[in-house]
Amino acid sequence: MKPPLHIVGAEPLPEGALAVETLGMTMRFGSFTALDDVSVKVPAGTFHALLGENGAGKSTLVKCMMGFYHATAGQMLIGGREAVIDDPRDAHALGLGMVYQHFTLVPSLTVAENLVISRHDTPRVIDWGRERKALADFMADMPFRVPLDQPVMRLAAGEKQKLEILKQLYLGRRFLILDEPTSVLTPDEADEVLGHVRALCSAGKISVMMITHKFREVTAYADDVSVLRRGRLVGQGHVRDLSHGDMAAMMIGAEKPLAPAARAGMAGAEVLRVAGVRARDRSGLKEIAIDDLKVRAGEIVGIAGISGNGQMELMEVLTGQRATSAGSVQVKGRPYHATRAESQALAVRYLPEEPLKNACAGRLSVVENIAFRSFDRNGTGRRFWLSGAEMRQRGEDLIAAFKVRTASPDAPIASLSGGNVQRAVLARELTGKVDLLIISNPCFGLDFSAVAEIRARIVAARNAGCAVLLMSEDLDEVVDLSDRILVMSEGRIAHEVAAAEADLATIGHHMGGHG
């Protein structure tokens, strides 16, 4: 029998928003200290932001609070009283809820079905008449609404995120942890969702702790902020007292900030031209249509856009993974169908997203993976018998040159970390003559130093006269790296602007399909 969640004889917790506090929260995994004596206080009805780099301990902290981890040391106070949370169920019972970075909704179920099934006391036989009335009453009280009869897969990302938050309120949660809730939203959608959350806080319905790395959102919506670095609390305070510079300094500490890459040289001759290309998208229901896309030598053209607006399909068209129904792709004026021979002759190289899946054979060794472009080449000619020694020499040179951290050159590439797989693929793709480099989400999920290095190499390739087409869901990355920015929305190029004249708000509007 578990001990009761509330102290016997104590008054029940007050209605509405909960005050939550951690005292000296510490979490060790073996000899590694992921969280070191972190105390954070979130008063009732306030919006608290938790800032930090990848691996700073933000997720560890909230997982301890939600009962996913059992903290090595430290306490939780809820409503000013000590609470013992052994597992997420205890947290839920006390009114604590969490919205995850990735959606936990069931795609084929309708909104109403998703809400009803998420309850603990769903009746065996569901009386839809009564449930719908209850849901309609619940929705009437909410500042924002989501259509009840739509299957979740037809909702836009912003609506899904709103539904995740509605679900928490529907379940009676009064303290919400939001884990990077806007990472899949357009700036407009993010503003709408966070605006509503802010309003719910101000109305005293909920308190919020939000994990984020976007300073803009912290300044616009949060009351207080805590900054973690390497598991330690390195800064805390009222948002109104802090500037972006202060927060960045706390987050990054002594590490050097990401320097904007130096650029040299002017754009040259046209290398890639995509004209009138039409192709079906993943679902087969929509079409992607690229009427005119040009990339010139010595320029980086960045394509921004929310995930699922056709960037992946465009990448697949360019890599030959997806059939087109019309139009043409030309490289240096010659038709291009992404065959191995053509990419060799025209010096086209790729860095697709999820390189382990799209650009590697996971069980082959690092050396073999690095040799994919060159194993059957003998100088300029072809070879039938491979040269193991040459392949190995080349592989070892590139592993050293690109600082790929691997246990051995013969280790399977799947055993490397994400950043090192990315480096190995870059080593392969950027070696030799490269006239066109096509890249998709190159820094997704990588740590700080890997990101800086990979971006520097991309800019170096551009400076050397390579034409670069960069697709990324990270708008900051596109803005930082590109000479020219395109926005993709609903399978089309919705906007084009030179990087020097780029305006984030305008780009955001186009990303959201409000041209």
Binding site: T104, V106, P107, S108, L109, T122, V125
Partner: protein, 307 residues
């Protein structure tokens, strides 16, 4: 002859055939729908069907009661489904490979234990004469409907309702569509999938009992002629909807009756080609509903063949 219906005998025979032949396909496809809605595919239902036919027939011979046969066939099917479910719950096991193994195991077991039951005759399941209003013997025989067919229709309606309006139904869909969401809800996907596979096996077992205890109505080794496999393909055609399973099963039952019907009205040339109609229809339907570039609409998200 006043009872000679001429060419009208063909559609009548097709309707009669649709009702008679569709029942096992209906049961197997309902069972498979249930299993696939939970995110797993059980290709072993062909084996379950044959095993159900054998155990049902043997039980009916030994007890004299066809309904006891149906019950035992359902039980055997459930146990076989449970075995499939348990094996698939272990890590790194491919449900399709297990299904093929279970198909061979099921038919093998049925042939081995069924040898002594090829000769003896078992009592048939009762049929309900719904054609009593007609004076035409052809109409009467076409509308001689077996109780299991009606139970199958009721089961299709009940399943459709349960998937929409009961907690177990919604939970089944959650598990089939997103393992992550199910885990976040505190559900155990492997357990629920195993349960769904066992229940699906029970449905297939009942379908087998119909084969041996009503139509064709005897136990032999060629009894299923691949109907279990076709039913699995049918589920895709039916878009994982129990009600669509009913229509699809009737369509395929009717197609299966086309060859014999043509033969009976005296078509002597090429009628045997129509014996292949259900198989050609299966192929045609699968090709027509397939696409090289897009995912299947309505497919449960966790299904290994559509991922």
């Amino acid at each position: 002859m006043e009872n000679d219906l001429g060419l009208w005998a063909v559609p009548l025979a097709v309707v009669g055939g649709a009702i008679r032949v569709s029942t096992p396909i209906l049961f197997v496809s309902l069972g498979e729908t249930l299993t696939e809605r939970s995110g797993r595919i059980n290709l072993g239902l062909e084996g379950t069907l044959v095993l159900g036919a054998m155990t049902g027939y043997a039980t009916a011979v030994l007890t004299g009661s066809p309904w006891a046969g149906v019950a035992v066939a359902a039980l055997a099917g459930a146990l076989f489904g449970l075995l499939h479910g348990l094996i698939c719950s272990m890590g790194r096991v491919n449900d399709i490979a297990v299904g093929i193994a279970m198909m061979l195991l099921g038919t093998g077991l049925a042939f081995y234990f069924g040898k002594p039951y090829i000769q003896p005759a078992a009592p048939d399941l009762p049929a309900i004469p719904l054609g009593g209003w007609s004076s035409l013997p052809q109409v009467r025989s076409a509308l001689n409907v077996n109780a299991l067919f009606l139970i199958g229709i009721a089961a299709a309606l009940a399943l459709a309702w349960a998937l929409r309006s009961t907690r177990p139904g919604l939970i089944l869909r959650v598990v089939g569509d997103s393992t992550d969401a199910a885990r976040a809800m505190g559900l155990n996907p492997a357990l629920i999938r195993t349960g769904a596979t066992a229940l699906g096996g029970a449905f297939a077992g009942i379908g087998g009992a119909y084969l041996s205890l009503y139509y064709p109505g005897s136990w032999n080794e060629g009894i299923s002629s691949g109907q279990g496999l076709m039913a699995v393909a049918l589920v895709i055609f039916a878009r994982w909807s129990p009600i669509n399973c009913l229509w699809a099963a009737l369509l395929f039952g009717g197609a299966g009756a086309l060859g014999p019907a043509l033969q009976s009205v005296g078509v002597t040339q090429g009628y045997y080609l129509f014996y292949a109609a259900p198989y050609v229809l299966t192929l045609g339907v699968l090709i027509a509903t397939s696409s090289p570039s897009r995912a299947l609409a309505g497919a449960p998200g966790e299904l290994s063949i559509t991922k």
